[in-house]
């Protein structure tokens, strides 16, 4: 276990291992997303009350899920980097941040596009929406802080602290916003209650969900590899690569 941990923390080993792992996530992701899209757009029957608009769920929900998953993963990586002074963990966190931010933005975008036909407006002050917006700012704050330092080590560790502080706050923010939402229930939003999702609606969602997750991991790995090279530019093993 410990040796494995140590190996993982050696850049060359990680670079090679990630390279080997990559296809095992990339191709399944491609397949699953393709199947899920087909299932969601073609096979799944229209919702009895939302009609075909509900098909947006197949991109919206996975994005929303990944936006949360991504932040937690980032925070965990950052924490490991701080505690065990593991450079690669910071690399991972930095690889995840923009990815997670992009999925957060996607959840917001698809969500508000969905909201237009459902609620007649692009934006309502719904709890999940608001907290998603705040989550986006947590991501952006992390990225901005990380870039603000001219010394990379400092930037990594500082933004790692921020990520940990943030992850403690995410549930609190979500709860408080929920609570706030119950007070200011906008009249426009009537049916955010989920329509009963039947099995033939559900399986494409699950497939999509899995596919998005695989995709997320694959891209994160690739970004991490690139950044590893970037950082180890001077070192011997990188020299041998080229």
């Amino acid at each position: 276990m410990w040796t494995w941990f140590h190996q993982l923390s050696s850049p060359p080993h990680f670079y090679r291992m990630a390279g080997r792992l990559l296809p095992w996530f990339a191709w399944p992701a491609l397949l699953l997303i393709a199947v899920g899209t087909y299932g969601g757009l073609v096979l799944a029957p229209p919702d009895y009350q939302q009609g075909d608009a509900f098909r947006i769920i197949y991109v919206h929900v996975p994005s929303a899920w990944l936006s949360l998953f991504g932040y937690v993963a980032m925070a965990v990586a950052a924490g490991i980097g701080l505690i065990w002074r593991m450079k690669l963990a910071h690399v991972a966190a930095n690889a995840i941040a923009p990815l997670g931010a992009s999925f957060t933005a996607l959840a917001l975008a698809t969500g508000s596009i969905w909201g237009k036909p459902m609620w007649g407006t692009w934006w309502v002050w719904d709890a999940r929406l608001t907290s998603e917006l705040i989550l986006l700012f947590l991501y952006l704050g992390y990225i901005a802080l990380n870039r603000a330092f001219d010394d990379r080590k400092q930037g990594d560790r500082a933004s790692a602290v921020l990520a940990l502080v943030g992850v403690v706050n995410v549930p609190i923010i979500h709860y408080s916003v929920e609570w706030w939402n119950t007070l200011h229930q906008p009249a426009t939003i009537t049916k955010f209650d989920s329509p009963s999702i039947t099995g033939d609606m559900l399986w494409p969602l699950l497939v999509m969900w899995l596919g998005f997750t695989f995709y997320f991991i694959a891209v994160a790995l690739q970004r991490a590899r690139a950044e590893t090279l970037q950082r180890e530019r001077r070192s011997a093993w990188v020299g041998e690569l080229s």
Partner: protein, 233 residues
């Protein structure tokens, strides 16, 4: 060293006293800096009634929220002056070298900062709240809420200040880091003020604010200590 451990609590007390004395002295000799947040607070509270000219009852509905926003934004203003001077003149190094935990030191410094900015702000609130149409009899509740809230704001803000202390231009970055974290305090505080205004006792908000204060006061020092160490390295 055993002795050191044995008398640790005594030392903590003496240290806290010394730090507070120092910060209050400095604040007193540069009272101007402490005034900025207050001025901002007053101005924010003034804009809405004076400029927007809504009918009083409308204003009264907004009063609690506006008070809380004003308090939040005001407590952001003096923040980049919390650790930066100590960082520049080498005092922060000495604090990091103390055998006593840096987190504790940071905590005491935040307390000092709050005493010179947050507390006056709360003290000033009645002058603003009443014109906004806030019933005088429920002022004490409001002040109590703000007392807790500004403390949390200071703690959160201090984390941001510690993270950006070694950056030259932390200007607009600091609020971006802090505001998302401050949202829960804002929500519960404003709601509490609302309830107080309607004359009922905001037990829920009080619990939540207390809970948030607890978290901020227990985890904040760790974050601050880590951030400061990183900035010094």
């Amino acid at each position: 060293m055993n002795m050191a451990v044995a008398s640790a609590d005594v030392q903590l007390g003496r240290l806290a006293a010394a730090l507070l004395r120092r910060d209050l002295l400095l604040a007193w000799r540069r009272i101007g800096d402490a005034l900025n947040p207050l001025m901002f607070f007053v101005m924010v509270a003034l804009v809405f009634p004076l400029a927007v000219t809504p009918e009083p009852d409308f204003m009264r509905q907004l009063a609690p929220g506006i008070l809380w926003v004003a308090a939040l934004l005001a407590s952001l203003i003096g923040l980049n002056a919390l650790f930066a001077p100590d960082f520049q003149d080498g005092t922060l190094e000495q604090q990091a070298l103390s055998p006593l935990p840096l987190g504790f030191i940071a905590l005491v410094r935040v307390l000092g900062h709050w005493l010179t900015t947050g507390l006056p702000l709360v003290a000033l609130t009645p002058v603003i709240a009443v014109p906004l149409g806030f019933p005088a009899e429920s002022l004490p509740v409001l002040l109590l809420l703000l007392l807790i809230g500004t403390l949390v704001f200071s703690l959160l803000g201090a984390i941001g200040a510690a993270l950006t202390v070694s950056l030259r231009a932390s200007g607009l970055l600091l609020p971006v880091l802090i505001l998302p974290l401050a949202v829960p305090v804002l929500i519960f505080g404003a709601r509490g003020a609302q309830m107080a205004m309607n004359g009922d006792w905001p037990s829920g908000p009080f619990y939540m604010l207390g809970f948030l204060l607890l978290i901020a006061a227990s985890l904040g020092p760790l974050a601050m200590a880590g951030a400061l160490r990183i900035s010094l390295d």
